[in-house]
């Protein structure tokens, strides 16, 4: 098989594996009522799974981010959260700041 064929198959396989979870979620949702306990459980699990993913992205990042120091990533995160709170939950400012701040800290 040609390498480009393998790449196309990999894209298809990745898409199917991803859509599977979304579609099963849509099917399950038909039977779940907003007022049920099971909905509240799913809600808590969804938030904590997401938080786990984000925590891992900061502490044990994959890709280029792993070439930056952990202490710098934590400084950037803390400063941006502070900016987010000070500027009435504006999201544009902390996100732009984060890119420049980490690129700067990584260079000193």
């Amino acid at each position: 098989m040609e390498i480009s064929d393998i790449m196309i198959l990999a894209i298809i396989v990745t898409s199917l594996a991803t859509f599977l979870s979304r579609f099963l979620g849509a099917i399950t949702s038909e039977k779940v009522s907003v007022k049920s306990k099971i909905f509240q459980w799913f809600n808590c699990v969804a938030y904590s799974t997401l938080a786990a993913l984000i925590g891992r992205m900061i502490i044990f990042p994959a890709g280029v981010l792993s070439d930056s120091d952990l202490i710098f990533r934590l400084i950037v995160l803390a400063s941006c959260i502070l900016v987010f709170i000070i500027f009435k939950r504006n999201l544009v400012m902390p996100t732009i700041l984060s890119a420049f701040l980490l690129a700067f800290l990584n260079n000193i």
């Binding site: 396989v13 925590g55 992205m57 544009v92 980490l102 990584n106």
Partner: protein, 234 residues
């Protein structure tokens, strides 16, 4: 069929001081550049975001291909890393349900489910009449999804001009955005425990099991948060 007024209201969530466009652009530009490095062409890179639209899974795919993993192994690795989309869908779609709406809207629009669109929808669904919430969701989803596909292509084309410091800068934007949105979502004790517990357990469990860390951490912290909420009548 689709209430266009509500759909465009969802689409407009890309604008303003709470816009997700910057973090989305940052991470998908970085992904486009990374896919070029991994040997994908422009069409394949755009198609990957078009059909998958879930960044951690796309990263796993690129990394797995580089080490020569089989298609079955790629399927399992991606399924594991993107399984979070299952509890995320079940914790959002019941809020968008209405008996007058056709099922195809739900089956098709679940493709738009990703961390960014989910956080926006959870943050703003209450402002929309229950009957048209699915149209609002389709607006949010369509906007974030098309931004992702477009930015992947731009990242691919810009990759020669992006140096390592710029790539590192782009890569931190998304986790920072997610973190701020999560802090905003901590409006009751259950969600606060879920978020704090998950943030600590995620990297904690990762030390013991890299593949299962996110799912285990999510399940444990989420269940503890739920039980705490039940006990306190929340």
């Amino acid at each position: 069929m689709i209430n266009s007024k509500v759909f465009f209201r969802g689409l407009k969530s890309l604008k303003g001081v709470r816009s997700p466009a910057i973090p989305l652009a940052a991470c998908f530009i970085a992904l486009g550049a990374l896919l070029k490095d991994a040997g994908f062409n422009l069409q394949q890179s755009a198609a990957s975001s078009f059909f998958t639209y879930a960044l951690p899974g796309q990263l796993v795919m690129a990394e797995s291909l580089l080490v020569g993993a089989s298609l079955i192994n790629i399927f399992i690795a991606v399924w594991l890393v993107n399984f979070r989309l299952y509890p995320m869908t079940v914790s959002l779609f019941p809020l968008l349900k209405h008996k007058s709406q056709p099922k195809w809207k739900y089956y098709l629009s679940c493709h738009f489910l990703a961390v960014t669109s989910w956080l926006i929808a959870k943050d703003s669904y209450k402002k929309i009449d229950q009957r048209y919430r699915i149209d609002f969701w389709m607006g949010i989803g369509f906007g974030t999804w098309t931004t992702a596909v477009l930015m992947t292509s731009i990242g691919y084309l810009l990759s020669d001009y992006l140096n390592k410091d710029m790539m590192i800068g782009l890569a931190i934007v998304n986790p920072v955005y997610f973190f701020c949105m999560m802090i905003d979502a901590m409006k009751n004790i259950s969600i606060s425990i879920a978020v704090i517990g998950g943030t600590i357990l995620g990297p904690g469990v990762y030390l013991f099991s890299t593949e299962w860390a996110i799912l285990f951490a999510g399940l444990i912290a989420g269940t503890v948060a739920f039980l705490f909420g039940v006990k306190n009548g929340n």
